[in-house]
């Protein structure tokens, strides 16, 4: 029952408020009844004083009948239960209840106890001591009794009757009893009011709290609970509805984020698993098919050799041999797929490849109301590329463009031109090593999506790794050191700790040490070790000067790519298409362009469109 957080909270709040309101109500009722009683007490005392002073004259005259009448008439007042005058020996001499006259009062009785506690009567006692509250019998109303002593006075002992001796101080007492029925009724009403107030307020508080707890705690927590159950059952597409902007809301958001990541990771795992099994399958099929294929190929080539005199057979056998050789190439390419194929480059016209790629997607484009605008520069130089791979690049990009364009249709613009670019900001360092040939390329840490150069920095007891931009001339270096670099700082290879600082030379701009990297087969790349310096030198590349590139731009008027997504789009398995894509398309494109020593960049604005810019170097020869 108390397993629910809402109920726990509500009962805790209810008990606390019950305690607070209960204590408050108790003291409130008590003080209220006290003040009522003391009011009645004052009233009774005043009445007693009034009776004493109004009967004084009659007492002087010793007119006992008149006295009795006065007392009787006072006694008839509804709230007054009894008015008695008791003399010093305890005899009731006057009473509103005539039956009690001349009866003796027990001194140990309640009414007498205050004064006679120590056997001899006190003379001066306070009002509270003279007051008593009692019940005649247990079922009756409460009664307040007040005793007022009647003191001796000169006029009393000098009166004609001489009823009292002079040395007597107290002549008797007046005892007035007033029923507390009204007061009690009022007190009970008050108590009830407080109890009802307490109950109503606890109930209201409980309801209010339960409402808000349900709204702010129970419902969101239940939603979270539901979500975790959904996730654990494998529904990684479950998204928690907006839970507001408080902590639980943030928890929900981060939960959604986590689910998204989880789903991505699962997708990646699934994809890589799929690819791996596809590779295994391909390799397996290729391996299995090899032996029968060997049979076919050897027998047919054997027959071909044997049937040299039979031109009719020769022709047919040549077809068999040729087709079997083709199968052999297919098997080989299957295995190449299983271990990343290498491009087979031939000189080709990029415009022709683009036309072929367009013919593949034309139908899909016309269905999606997409217009193709082709602005190609004629007389483009032929370029050594793997036609199939480059065609795949274009097809993938066209399909992406088509996916990005909504149902109303749009335009895909393809521009080709030949352009000359300086190596700065274009050439990427793909291989770099220390003097002991350890690779300094960090595939784990990428700058703008490209594997960076890593250098270990040692300064006293401090050690750290800095990452340098692999693109020549870009300087998006990443120094995240928690210690300063000073004169004694060493820059070394993370693997063998050999220094990679160029000896006897410093940066011509800031005088800092120069780091030099051996770029496999492409000379030495030098860069200033200071964080904010932009000095670098790469003779190998500098000497080649500007290079000729074929530039292909593919623009669409589609939905565009979010800024945050752009750095990641070329990562394998990164897809913004959700379930629709594998996330491999652009990664494959990147790989192909990279294999051709080209570059691919993307410019995109959400809602306006995306442009992919591919640059393929015309002269791919890397040597001078």
């Amino acid at each position: 029952m108390f397993k629910k957080i809402g109920l726990k909270l509500i009962s805790f709040v209810a008990i606390t408020s019950l305690l607070i309101i209960g204590v408050f109500a108790y003291f409130n009722v008590k003080s209220q009844s006290n003040s009522l009683i003391s009011e009645v007490e004052r009233h009774a005392n005043q009445l007693s004083e009034t009776v004493i002073s109004s009967t004084r004259y009659d007492m002087m005259l010793n007119q006992r009948d008149r006295l009795q009448k006065i007392i009787n008439s006072i006694g008839t007042q509804p709230q007054i239960r009894d008015v008695r005058v008791i003399n010093k020996i305890g005899e009731i001499i006057y009473s509103s209840d005539t039956a009690n006259i001349h009866k003796m009062v027990d001194k140990r009785a309640e009414s007498c106890y205050a004064c006679h506690a120590e056997d001899k009567p006190l003379e001066q006692i306070s009002i509270t001591e003279r007051t008593r509250i009692f019940r005649i019998h247990p079922d009756s109303n409460r009664v307040i009794g007040i005793i007022s002593p009647i003191y001796n006075d000169q006029s009393c002992w000098q009166a004609e009757c001489h009823a009292h001796p002079e040395d007597q101080k107290v002549l008797g007492v007046l005892d007035v009893s007033i029923s507390l029925a009204e007061v009690d009724k009022e007190i009970i009403t008050g108590e009830w009011q407080v109890v009802i107030f307490a109950c109503v307020s606890i109930l209201a508080l409980g309801l209010l709290i339960s409402f808000f707890v349900r709204r702010w705690v129970s419902n969101p927590v239940n939603e979270l609970l539901n979500a975790t159950q959904q996730i654990s059952q494998g529904n990684l597409n479950y998204l928690i509805a907006d839970l507001g902007d408080d902590e639980i809301g943030k928890l929900g958001d981060s939960f959604n984020n986590m689910t998204k990541k989880l789903s991505e990771a699962r997708m990646q795992l699934f994809q890589s698993d799929k690819l791996a099994s596809l590779g295994r399958l391909a390799a397996g099929v290729a391996h299995e098919i090899n032996n029968p294929l060997t049979g076919v190929l050897t027998y047919s080539s054997y027959l071909l050799k044997r049937s040299k005199n039979n031109p009719e057979f020769q022709e047919d056998l040549k077809v068999i041999v040729r087709e079997t050789l083709r199968s052999r190439e297919i098997v080989k390419s299957l295995l190449d797929f299983a271990r990343q194929s290498v491009p087979k480059k031939r000189n080709a016209d990029i415009n022709e490849i683009i036309d072929k790629a367009i013919s593949v997607v034309e139908k899909q484009f016309s269905i999606n109301k997409i217009t193709i605008l082709k602005q190609s520069e004629n007389n483009l130089s032929k370029i050594a590329v793997d036609e199939n791979q480059i065609q795949q690049v274009f097809i993938n990009l066209f399909v992406n463009a088509s996916d990005a364009i909504n149902k109303e249709g749009g335009i895909v613009t393809i521009t080709t031109k030949q352009t000359s670019l300086s190596p700065l900001g274009v050439v990427q360092i793909k291989k770099a090593s220390c003097s002991k040939r350890h690779s300094l390329i960090d595939n784990e840490f990428k700058i703008n999506g490209l594997p960076s150069l890593k250098v270990k920095v040692v300064s006293g007891d401090n050690e750290g790794i800095i990452h340098l931009d692999p693109v020549y001339g870009k300087h998006s270096n990443y120094f995240a050191l928690n210690f300063p670099i000073d004169k004694n700082t060493k820059f070394v290879c993370p693997e063998c700790s050999v220094s990679i600082v160029k000896s006897n030379d410093n940066c011509p701009r800031c005088g800092s040490p120069i780091l030099n990297f051996e770029v496999n087969g492409q000379g030495i790349y030098e860069v200033c070790s200071a964080e904010n310096s932009n000095w670098e030198k790469w003779d190998f590349v500098d000497s080649t000067g500007s290079k000729e590139y074929i530039e292909i731009k593919i623009s669409d008027t589609g939905c565009g790519i979010d800024k945050e997504d752009i750095p990641r789009i070329f990562e394998p398995f990164y897809s913004t298409k959700g379930q629709k894509g594998t996330g491999l398309g652009l990664a494959v494109i990147w790989g192909i362009i990279d294999n051709h020593n080209g570059t691919i960049n993307v410019e995109s604005e959400v809602g306006i469109g995306t442009t992919f810019i591919i640059r393929l170097p015309l002269d791919q020869q890397k040597r001078n």
């Binding site: 390799a283 290729a286 391996h287 090899n290 032996n291 029968p292 294929l293 060997t294 049979g295 076919v296 190929l297 050897t298 027998y299 080539s301 054997y302 071909l304 050799k305 044997r306 041999v321 079997t324 050789l325 052999r328 098997v331 080989k332 295995l335 299983a338 290498v342 491009p343 087979k344 480059k345 031939r346 050594a384 040939r437 496999n520 087969g521 492409q522 791919q620 020869q621 890397k622 040597r623």
Partner: protein
């Protein structure tokens, strides 16, 4: 004609054995076969074969065991490995360990016969050299060994690391000696990719045979030696220096060079003979 060359073929697939047998019947070879490694090894221990053609992967073992057997028993027969494309790296390793050649499946009869032809020639040269070297110390008489800093893939191609990170590749003299006169060489183009153990160029000899040369390294061709096209016989005259074939940017030299044989090791071996 000499007495026919004895050939043993070991494969677990009958169709392959049949095909090899049929192909060999076209030329003057005497052929025996074994359907598994066990019978193959038994046959080797009983009879001398100058050429053994063996599948590199069989259910009861691999071709390396045959290689082992030949080496431990000091049998100097030539061993040709048959391999699927998926086991080319194994085949390359087998060359380092002493196999004479390998031939990727599926193969044509011509490819097979070329390989057998070369293996046979190789075997003859080595046997004659051994006989000869007993009498004199002129070990270089039959073929020129590759220079010390070179690496070779079996007895077919060589590789030389250059200071700028590129490598030169070419053809070993002994390979040239196992083929007849070169009629035509079919080169790849610059920018073409090479893969270690796969064909890198093709030689047509005057006996109409086609010889495919395995590349010693994976990489990208950046230059083809143009002099080979201008000067005839250059490759045969100076196979190790002026007769280089390609200049290549290797993809992973550090790894692949382990599969090659350093030519310096040949010298020490020869000297101890």
């Amino acid at each position: 004609m000499d007495k026919p060359t004895e050939i043993l073929v070991i494969d677990d697939e009958l169709v392959i054995i049949d095909a090899v047998v049929k192909a060999c019947s076209l030329e003057n070879y005497s052929i025996d076969f074994a359907i598994n490694l066990k019978t193959g090894l038994e046959k080797i221990s009983k009879k001398y074969y100058s050429i053994i053609i063996c599948d590199i992967m069989m259910p009861d073992g691999d071709g390396f065991q045959v290689l082992n057997e030949l080496q431990t028993k000091k049998i100097d027969g030539a061993l040709i490995m048959m391999t699927g494309y998926s086991t080319v790296e194994n085949a390359v390793n087998s060359l380092r360990d002493g196999a004479t050649d390998f031939i990727p499946k599926p193969f044509t009869v011509d490819e097979l016969l070329s390989s057998i032809y070369r293996a046979n020639k190789y075997h003859q040269i080595i046997t004659r050299q051994k006989l000869y070297s007993k009498d004199s110390n002129k070990v270089d008489l039959f073929y020129v060994e590759c220079p010390t800093k070179y690496y070779r893939l079996g007895h077919s191609s060589w590789l030389l690391e250059e200071s700028d990170g590129t490598v030169l590749i070419g053809i070993c003299d002994i390979f040239l000696k196992t083929i007849d006169k070169i009629m035509e060489i079919e080169f790849l183009e610059p920018e073409d990719e090479l893969a270690q153990g796969f064909n890198c160029f093709t030689i047509k000899s005057n006996s109409e045979r086609i010889h495919k040369i395995h590349s010693p390294v994976s990489g990208r061709i950046i230059e083809v030696n143009q002099n080979l096209k201008l000067v005839s016989n250059l490759i045969e005259k100076d196979p190790y220096f002026e007769g280089w074939v390609y200049r290549v940017i290797p993809h992973d030299l550090g790894y692949e060079i382990k599969n090659l044989t350093p030519c310096s090791s040949d010298r020490t071996q020869v000297n101890t003979h």
